[in-house]
């Protein structure tokens, strides 16, 4: 109950479209979203080493059991696939890579549920560009030739024009079409499943978009209980005026100022933790200079998104931003403080559909390598990439998205760039397992941030956390279709667990419920382990052991390798993982019902 038990299975090579049943136990044990997506990935990728850009890589669009119900902030869709971004230290297979899961808000996931599916799995590769059109049970593969080459913004406009308000869609831009490995997938007003190259996998299938319209909703197990919980949840948000106002007034962008003050911001390619010009891009500046309105995802009371619009040289663009990640990675990390320029850079990246976090990491790395004289103007195709330079950054973004000249190698990320450049540049190539770090710097909260980044199953990820229990909890959130920003409200008598009981009828104890998150996390881990990722891959760039910040909070603070070893062993022990290999112990796997991974 509460779920359909049906996946929409589409093979773009054979054009076969079918409904595949999902077993009751998978729905119970993995819920939906990130969890069920991981289970599908495990079931379908039978052997390690699959080329993530090959037709055989399943691309799963996963709403969760909350999706399609107006539970506050239940808008998220997780895209799960095998990552084109990650690689281990010692490649066991040519195409060893981790799982990738990237999560977007907006309206797409709920609509997939309305159409009658718990998820969409796309396999194969179309012979020419296509999009998938879903109207409840009617599913068509349609030519996207006339849309190929369009940026996400003009494509979004074209879809609104053609399909109108009853349809929701997600799509790639030229980034995904050109197979930029860190391409993203977007839906309505630039909500991005940004990380881990999910857009590249979509592009590799010649799939421009999925457009969906649905009229259904699944029957709930305990309808009345659900309505009561819903009323309570709505009230909890309504009554917490201050808590809600934090998100409405600035969203994650509030963290720009705070994080800089705390020395935890990625500044100057992670060399520093405090941005001296942060006032120019903080929420106060954004609110007075560029933010025109707040907007929300499906059934959300927080409305953390902001339409930014500026005039002047970089003006004329309407776009959501900056928020914390985009503002830091394309702002502070590059010493860019021109708010209009920053907003324009964010808009351009989203229009191409490339991951802004990674793009900011790549630009920061190149700026530092240039400053250190490790590369010259020729290497950069004549682009004068210096700190704070908006125009040069924009030029470089065009090169990356189009994979032209320097863009060819820059589109592979900082790990590949450092391998090419050499000269010790890998010390400031800021990635874990090939995936660039997000906008939170490491030194000030070294234990927390090192464990967060080192142990994330998709490679460096800020949404992972450092404690195993919180990691498990976010795996649950991502599996429900719930937004992590609203997680704090779902406690006590309106817990996620209670909602699941009302929706599906499954009565979990707290312990059993938490175990779902642990199960998801460990299945991801086993997937990675099978690909050849071991303890040697759970590591941080040398920068974080060598370069203390030179000013601000956290000045002169550094962790040692011995500290890190101690922390990671503590973490493995708590997780029930082997200290040498990092593999989950067989008792742990048995306890979680994951014996099938052995």
């Amino acid at each position: 109950m509460g779920q359909y038990g049906i996946l929409l299975d589409i093979n773009l090579t054979t054009k076969e479209i079918k409904k595949t049943p999902v077993s009751k136990s998978d729905l119970k044990n993995f819920l939906g979203g990130r969890g069920l997506g991981m289970k599908i990935l495990w079931d379908r990728i039978k052997k390690p080493g699959l080329n993530p850009m090959s037709p055989e890589n399943p691309l799963c669009f996963m709403p969760g059991p909350f999706s399609g119900l107006p539970i506050p902030s239940s808008s998220r869709t997780t895209v799960v696939t095998k990552s084109p971004r990650t690689s281990p230290e010692n490649k066991k297979y040519e195409h060893s890579s981790t799982v990738s899961y990237a999560n977007m808000g907006g309206f797409f996931g709920p609509e997939v549920k309305f159409a009658g599916y718990d998820g969409i799995v796309v396999l194969g590769k179309a012979s020419s560009p296509v999009y998938i059109l879903i109207e409840d049970d009617k599913v068509e593969i349609k030519s996207a030739l006339s849309y190929w080459g369009m940026g996400t913004d003009s494509f979004d406009k074209a879809l609104i024009e053609k399909y109108g308000k009853e349809y929701q869609s997600c799509y790639i831009g030229q980034g995904g079409e050109n197979l930029v490995p860190y391409a993203s997938i977007l839906n309505t007003a630039a909500r991005a499943a940004g990380r881990g190259g999910v857009g590249a996998v979509m592009g590799s299938k010649n799939l421009k978009a999925i457009v969906v319209k649905g009229t259904k909703q699944p029957q709930l197990a305990k309808h009345k209980m659900y309505l009561e919980l819903l009323e309570k949840a709505r009230t909890a948000f309504r009554e917490d005026i201050e808590g809600v106002e934090y998100w409405r007034s600035g969203g994650t962008a509030h963290a720009l100022q705070n994080s800089s003050n705390n020395g935890t911001m990625a500044v100057r390619n992670y060399r520093e933790g405090t941005f001296k010009e942060v006032e120019m891009i903080n929420t106060k500046s954004a609110r007075t200079q560029i933010w025109k309105r707040d907007f929300a995802c499906f059934s959300c009371q927080l409305a953390c998104k902001k339409s930014g619009f500026a005039k002047g040289a970089y003006g004329g663009v309407v776009h959501d931003g900056p928020e914390y990640e985009t503002g830091t990675m394309l702002g502070a990390n590059l010493l860019i403080s021109d708010l209009a320029g920053l907003n324009k850079m964010i808009a351009i990246c989203d229009d191409y559909g490339i991951d802004i976090i990674t793009t900011g990491g790549v630009l920061g790395f190149l700026m530092e390598a240039r400053e250190k004289g490790m590369i010259d103007l020729t290497f950069l195709d004549g682009i004068d990439l210096t700190w704070g330079n908006v125009d040069a950054s924009i030029e470089m973004i065009h090169k990356i998205a189009r994979r032209q000249g320097i863009g060819k190698i820059a589109s592979l990320g900082v790990k590949a760039l450092a391998q090419k450049i050499g000269k010790g540049s890998e010390e400031f190539a800021i990635h874990v397992k090939g995936h660039e770090l997000a906008a939170w710097n490491v030194n000030v909260n070294a234990e927390r941030m090192m464990i967060t980044y080192a142990t994330a199953n998709r490679g460096a990820c800020h949404l992972n956390s450092s404690s195993f229990s919180r990691q498990n909890n976010s795996a649950i959130q991502d599996s429900l279709g719930a937004c992590s920003f609203a997680g704090g409200w779902y406690k006590n008598d309106i817990s996620y667990r209670k909602f699941i009981e009302a929706i599906t009828g499954e009565e979990h104890t707290d312990e059993e419920f938490n175990q779902i998150g642990e199960r998801v996390f460990n299945l991801e881990k086993m997937f990675n382990y099978r690909e050849g990722f071991t303890r040697a891959d759970d590591k941080l760039p040398e920068r974080f052991f060598k370069d203390a910040h030179t000013y601000g909070k956290g000045k002169d603070v550094l962790a040692s390798h011995a500290d890190f070893d101690k922390w990671i062993e503590k973490y493995y022990t708590e997780r029930g993982w082997d200290l040498q290999t990092s593999m989950p112990k067989s008792e742990k796997l048995a306890q979680l019902g994951l014996e099938f991974t052995l």
């Binding site: 399609g68 119900l69 107006p70 506050p72 309206f107 309305f114 940026g151 913004d153 003009s154 979004d156 406009k157 609104i160 308000k165 009853e166 309505t188 007003a189 649905g214 009229t215 259904k216 909703q217 709930l220 309808h223 009345k224 309505l227 709505r234 948000f237 309504r238 809600v244 025109k292 309105r293 707040d294 907007f295 929300a296 995802c297 499906f298 059934s299 959300c300 009371q301 409305a303 339409s307 619009f309 005039k311 003006g315 004329g316 663009v317 309407v318 959501d320 808009a347 351009i348 229009d351």
Partner: protein, 227 residues
């Protein structure tokens, strides 16, 4: 200029020239024109600066108007937003426009309905409910001609859509019998239940028309990407 703009302008001009008038609806008489309405007619009014496009209003409207029977009890439905009488339109560049029946004093929709009123019932297939003053429909006598939808669409908000299966008009706000759910549940206080004001800046406009006004207000210029 579109047909719609013409008729709207004519409508306002007539009002301006006439300087007011009296509409007779069943037993009810009320003034419209230069004077504010006398409070008999109310409608859901949107503050577009506050709306975030969360679509909560669609879901609560849908849940309320499409109840389910569970163990002999009538309960709110799950609220598929498509079934809401209020509908939120998203535009690019970002603006969100909740569109809902304006409860027009001169009811182009009712006027357009060709169903000859039963002499005793004095009401057409689409009519103003004398108790609540909201527009209601009686599908039993509806001939599915779509005249009401055409009239609303050419002259006003365009909220009426013909249901593709039943071919009867729908999405007309019945104001939930006086306690509109959307107003109650909008998390952002963007909706209020107010006296109809035909001189309001957005009265009776379609989502597209409102969006254009808002584009200008927020974004002033045509936006260019990658320019």
């Amino acid at each position: 200029m579109t047909h719609k703009e013409t008729s709207r302008r004519d409508f306002l001009k007539k009002l301006a020239i006439g300087g007011g008038g009296v509409v007779i609806l069943g037993k009810y008489h009320f003034l419209f024109g230069n004077e504010p309405t006398n409070g008999l007619l109310k409608a859901i009014v949107v503050d577009f600066d506050k709306c975030t496009g969360c679509r909560t209003c669609e879901t609560v409207c849908s849940a309320f108007h499409h109840p389910v029977q569970i163990d002999g009890e009538q309960l709110n439905g799950l609220g598929n937003p498509k079934l809401g009488n209020i509908q939120v339109y998203h535009f690019n560049p970002d603006v969100d426009i909740p569109s809902v029946c304006a409860n027009c004093p001169d009811t182009p929709c009712v006027n357009a309905c060709p169903v000859t009123a039963d002499p005793k019932a004095i009401r057409k297939s689409i009519y103003r409910d004398q108790l609540t003053q909201a527009i209601r429909t009686n599908h039993d006598v509806c001939i599915s001609c779509g005249s009401c939808a055409d009239a609303c669409n050419t002259e006003r908000t365009g909220v009426i859509k013909m249901n593709p299966k039943t071919n009867h008009p729908e999405h007309i706000c019945d104001q939930c019998g006086g306690d509109p759910q959307c107003v109650k549940y909008c998390p952002f206080g963007a909706l209020s239940f107010k006296d109809v004001d035909i001189k309001g800046a957005y009265f009776g406009l379609s989502p597209q028309e409102i969006a254009e006004k808002l584009f200008e207000r927020y974004y002033e210029a045509e936006e260019v990407i990658n320019g």
